[in-house]
């Protein structure tokens, strides 16, 4: 009796929870209707920030060879990196294809035994079979150079950060921002300072792939048992002795993962680096893209995936190797034999991969795509047009016709509610900077695309995640697929999207969905599975149905994980939508592409790159809410 009184008393005092948000939403809707079309900031391709950067670029181009900063510093870096790339490439080419295959096979054998060796040999042979030997070697050289540099800088920095909390505090926010930076944003500044070509491509790839090198190394060092370190110090070891004899050996396997992640990141940058004329497989992909021929892109995409898989297997084997077992003499001998046989064979076979051993898949693939296009035309067009006309276009109109101050207020309110005051102010600052840079309209368009893609990603991801958490069998089928999906370089997802939908905004949305869904599924599934069994048991013991358990227990308790998934989904989607500028996504991503294609638009591309970063930080701050990256991310994720 008394409890009833209390409830009714409190409900009289307090409005239902949904009233306040709904009221605010209604307020915003009214404000929009009243002020629609005013206070918009239409795009002007000659905005002052754009022309300023374009002029800066012209100035730099004119003074690249007489300004001291370039003459004595930047050009030396360019020369050094260029020389590194050239020598690596020369060595790899000089080995000849049998040599390279043999040496990779040998290394793989040492890393993980005959199975991995077989994979490596088969994988590298496939480059030749696909008719992409030269491009693959260039890509390998580029990735190797970038990874070596990343490790040379990242590992010491990571060790330092792992040993000193102060350094770690200084480095972490920088890495956070680097990880939400869409890849495109790196390119323009690099082209400015390092010109175009292989060296600039190596540097871009290096910068992109350095965060995991630092982050995971720091993590590896932090994880070293403090007692072992203390024991070493208690025996009078110097810091160097402790570093070499305790920290590094104990951090070894985690550091192998750092190397692995660095390689994977580097590989996923290969295509985009081609926009500043980096050589390799990326060139084939871009060629296919600009001919709209999936048949050209697919083999190159497959080659990059194969390279990723081979290198991933090798590094993971190194990381997982039983620390006590030594590599058997038989294995060493076999690896050595393989590594020697290759170069020896190189003397007797033609330098070029024999043409009769290649399979030209361009035409069949193009035909298959054509077939799909013609036969699925009705369906794909229907899906594309429905989404575009009923979701994308109205939303885009909403964002672009809303007054800027209304959008800013909305961002502030939502971010404040979800993530608190500081992130909200950061988000607001990013948004205002976007406006000041003259990229407002295009940012709003990109935001529209991201919003639609994120909504779809979360819907699909949460459903699959729930399904996986509820059915062990479904999860078992899905896991390996997710694993594979996460090893693949991002742009690979553009191919099927492009084949099905041509160059439109929808293509970018489709690609970002397949790109971002796997990590979301994984986070949701893990979040649901991590709900303690005892709680579920307790709920079940009160007679809840399994649906009730899901809605009333598991989902609320997995809230953090789901919010994190949303945050991740948004960051990933943005990255992909921006890359989607290559396939018709328009707005910021296209501005970046255009900036590299048309000199007068360089400034616009550059500023658009900056705007993507601001947009990324803004979206991250709005949604960081429950979580602040408590998990080390695998390629931006996991």
């Amino acid at each position: 009796m008394s409890s009833t009184t209390v409830t009714s008393a409190s409900s009289r005092l307090r409005l239902p929870r949904w009233v306040a948000p709904a009221g605010v939403a209604a307020l915003f809707a009214l404000a929009y209707l009243a002020f629609r079309g005013t206070g918009t900031l239409p795009h002007d391709s000659e905005a002052a920030p754009f022309t300023a950067v374009t002029e800066l670029r012209e100035w730099i181009d004119d003074h690249r060879n007489d300004n001291p900063l370039f003459l004595y510093f930047l050009n030396y870096i360019r020369l050094f990196v260029g020389a590194l790339y050239t020598s690596l490439q020369t060595v790899l080419v000089a080995m000849g294809w049998p040599g390279l295959i043999g040496v990779m096979g040998g290394l793989a054998w040492l890393a993980g035994g005959w199975r991995v060796a077989l994979l490596a040999v088969a994988g590298f042979c496939s480059f030749g079979v696909l008719g992409l030997w030269e491009s693959s070697v260039e890509t390998l050289a580029l990735v190797t150079a970038a990874v070596l540099l990343s490790l040379a800088i990242g590992v010491p920095l990571g060790i330092w950060a792992g040993m000193s909390a102060r350094v770690r505090r200084a480095v972490t926010p920088v890495l956070d921002v680097m990880q939400i930076m869409p890849t495109f944003a790196y390119l323009a500044p690099l082209a400015l300072f390092f010109h175009i070509g292989a060296p600039a491509g190596v540097i871009a790839t290096m910068i992109y792939s350095i965060p995991p090198a630092i982050r995971i190394t720091a993590l590896a060092i932090e994880q070293v048992s403090p007692t072992a370190v203390e024991a070493s110090a208690s025996l009078g070891a110097t810091r160097t002795q402790t570093l070499v004899k305790v920290y590094l050996p104990l951090a070894r396997s985690t550091m192998a993962l750092a190397v692995n992640q660095t390689i994977m990141m580097a590989l996923s940058m290969v295509v985009i680096a081609n926009l500043i004329s980096a050589p390799g497989l990326g060139s084939d992909i871009i060629r296919g893209l600009s001919r709209a021929q999936v048949g050209i892109m697919l083999p190159a995409g497959v080659a990059i995936v194969i390279m990723a898989v081979v290198l991933d297997r090798m590094m993971v084997s190194v990381a997982r190797r039983d620390p006590h077992s030594r590599i058997g003499r038989g294995n060493v001998a076999a690896a050595g034999a393989l590594a020697l046989a290759g170069p020896a064979a190189a003397a007797f076979v033609p330098r070029q991969w024999p043409e009769d051993l290649t399979v030209d898949v361009t035409r069949p693939v193009n035909e298959a795509v054509l077939w799909a296009e013609t036969n699925w035309y009705a369906v794909t067009t229907f899906v594309k047009d429905t989404v575009t006309n009923y979701l994308l276009n109205p939303l885009e109109t909403l964002f672009t016709t809303a007054p800027w101050w209304l959008v800013a207020a909305a961002v502030l309110v939502v971010a404040w509610r979800v993530s608190g005051a500081r992130p909200a102010l950061t988000a607001l600052a990013c948004l205002l900077a976007i406006a000041l840079l003259g990229t407002w309209e295009h940012s709003m368009r990109t935001l529209t695309t991201v919003a639609v893609a994120v909504a779809a990603t979360l819907a699909v991801g949460v459903l699959l995640g729930i399904a996986a958490a509820r059915s062990g069998r479904f999860s078992a089928v899905q896991r390996p697929l997710l694993d594979a999906a996460q090893t693949m370089p991002a742009f690979v997802y553009l191919l099927p999207a492009l084949a099905l939908f041509g160059t439109t905004r929808f293509t970018a949305i489709f690609a970002s969905i397949i790109y971002a869904v796997p990590p979301v599924v994984r986070l949701v599934e893990d979040g649901l599975r991590n709900v303690p069994a005892s709680v579920i048991e307790a709920a079940a013991s009160t007679g809840s149905t399994s649906g009730q358990i899901l809605w009333k227990v598991q989902l609320p308790m997995a809230r953090r994980a789901i919010l994190l998934a949303a945050n991740q989904g948004i960051v990933l989607t943005l990255a992909m939508v921006v890359v989607g500028g290559l396939v018709g996504a328009g707005a910021l991503g296209y501005d970046v592409v255009l900036g590299f294609s048309q000199r007068p638009d360089f400034g616009m591309g550059f500023v658009a790159g900056v705007a993507t970063v601001l947009l990324g930080v803004m979206l991250d701050r709005i949604t960081q809410g429950a979580d602040r990256r408590s998990l080390p991310r695998k390629r931006k994720v996991t």
Binding site: S225, T227, A228, V229, E230, A231, S232, A233, S234, L235, G236, A237, T238, Q241, K245, V246, P249, L250, R252, P323, H324
Partner: protein
């Protein structure tokens, strides 16, 4: 005992964690209790004004509950944790004033430590773990391996030299830790709760092992524990710590027989006193006409060991301090003591 003749001398040692620890030390805040101190300054005083001396060859136990500052204290001795104030002297060297090189020399040759979680290096074989101290000193491989093998057999690990730590049981791993500390032939060994991660039976074996080793190699030992039974078993003298300070320092008998305050008394309440106290504590002057021809026992006999003698003879036991009779104990005295009604004579007299 002067600081020079002590193996370890500690004076006025403070360790305050947190921002501006120096200024906290200088102010009167240092006298605040832990909760108030943290509230006011954000600092934690882990060690407060601790002083003691350890005799050469002694087993000195520091006992306290978790958070009492005992682990911090032992780390301050070799500056694995840098003390905020105070002076530590080991073997005549002023540790607190030592240069990094002197400190390294001290750690390499004079003091070694055994850790609660062993701190073994999983990527090294047992023998290389044991030889680690010699390795960082720069000893040649053959020499250090020879020494390591000797020590391994001393701690009963013959035949395990080529195993890896994770292939050994917990007790064996701690033997490796022990061997590593012994290998550098230090004068002082510090034990930081070395057996608390082991299960009870193995812990007992290891305690016996330490007692044996102490007998054989005669090192000065500082032993940290939270286990009173372990402290009483091993310690020649025991310092009880609470909230960073030493509340009582004395022999096991003194602690059990004459707790300095309620905290210590509470601590030792469940100790079977008959297992710790000696006849000295309950001997009384013979009464008029009491027969003095009962069995003779030295005053250092633990009370429980006197029960057999008492039950064998109806006459009072003569408690001997060397050749001198220091008092008598009869069956009634023993029963009264065992039933807990008796207040020990020494406590009565305030000894």
């Amino acid at each position: 005992m002067s600081p020079d003749s002590a193996a370890i001398a500690v004076e006025g040692l403070w360790k305050i964690f947190g921002p501006k620890s120096e200024s906290v030390l200088a102010s009167q805040d240092r006298h605040l209790d832990p909760a108030a101190l943290r509230e006011k300054t954000g600092c934690t005083a882990a060690v407060r004004d601790v002083g003691f001396e350890v005799r050469p060859g002694e087993v000195f136990v520091v006992m306290g509950l978790s958070g009492s500052g005992k682990s911090t204290l032992v780390r301050c001795l070799t500056r694995l944790i840098e003390p905020t104030a105070g002076r530590v002297t080991i073997g005549g060297t002023d540790v607190t004033a030592a240069s990094p090189a002197q400190l390294r020399d001290l750690r390499r040759h004079h003091v070694s430590m055994v850790f609660q979680h062993f701190g073994l290096l999983p990527h090294r074989r047992v023998i290389d773990n044991v030889a680690y101290g010699l390795e960082v000193q720069g000893a040649a491989r053959a020499a250090r391996h020879e020494r390591a093998r000797e020590i391994l057999s001393l701690v009963g690990l013959d035949g395990h030299a080529d195993s890896y730590p994770d292939q050994l049981s917990g007790g064996m791993q701690q033997r490796v830790g022990l061997a590593r500390a012994l290998a550098v032939d230090p004068q002082v060994m510090l034990f930081d709760e070395p057996f608390s991660a082991l299960d009870p039976l193995i812990r007992r074996d290891m305690q016996t092992e330490v007692i044996r080793l102490h007998r054989e190699v005669g090192k000065t030992m500082v032993f940290i524990t939270h286990d009173l039974a372990e402290a009483l078993k091993l310690g020649e003298r025991i310092a009880i710590m609470r909230d960073g300070g030493i509340v009582q320092l004395g022999t096991p008998e003194e602690l059990v027989g004459a707790p300095a305050d309620d905290y210590v008394a509470d601590f030792v309440r469940d100790v079977p006193r008959s297992h710790v106290l000696t006849l000295r504590w309950i001997a009384r002057p013979p009464e008029e006409g009491e027969p003095l021809d009962g069995p003779e026992l030295p005053a250092t006999t633990v009370i429980k060991d006197a029960i057999a003698a008492a039950s064998a003879s109806s006459r009072p036991i003569r408690v001997m301090d060397g050749e001198k009779l220091s008092g008598v104990v009869d069956r009634v005295d023993l029963l009264a003591f065992l039933s807990g009604q008796d207040v020990p004579a020494a406590a009565r007299t305030g000894a």
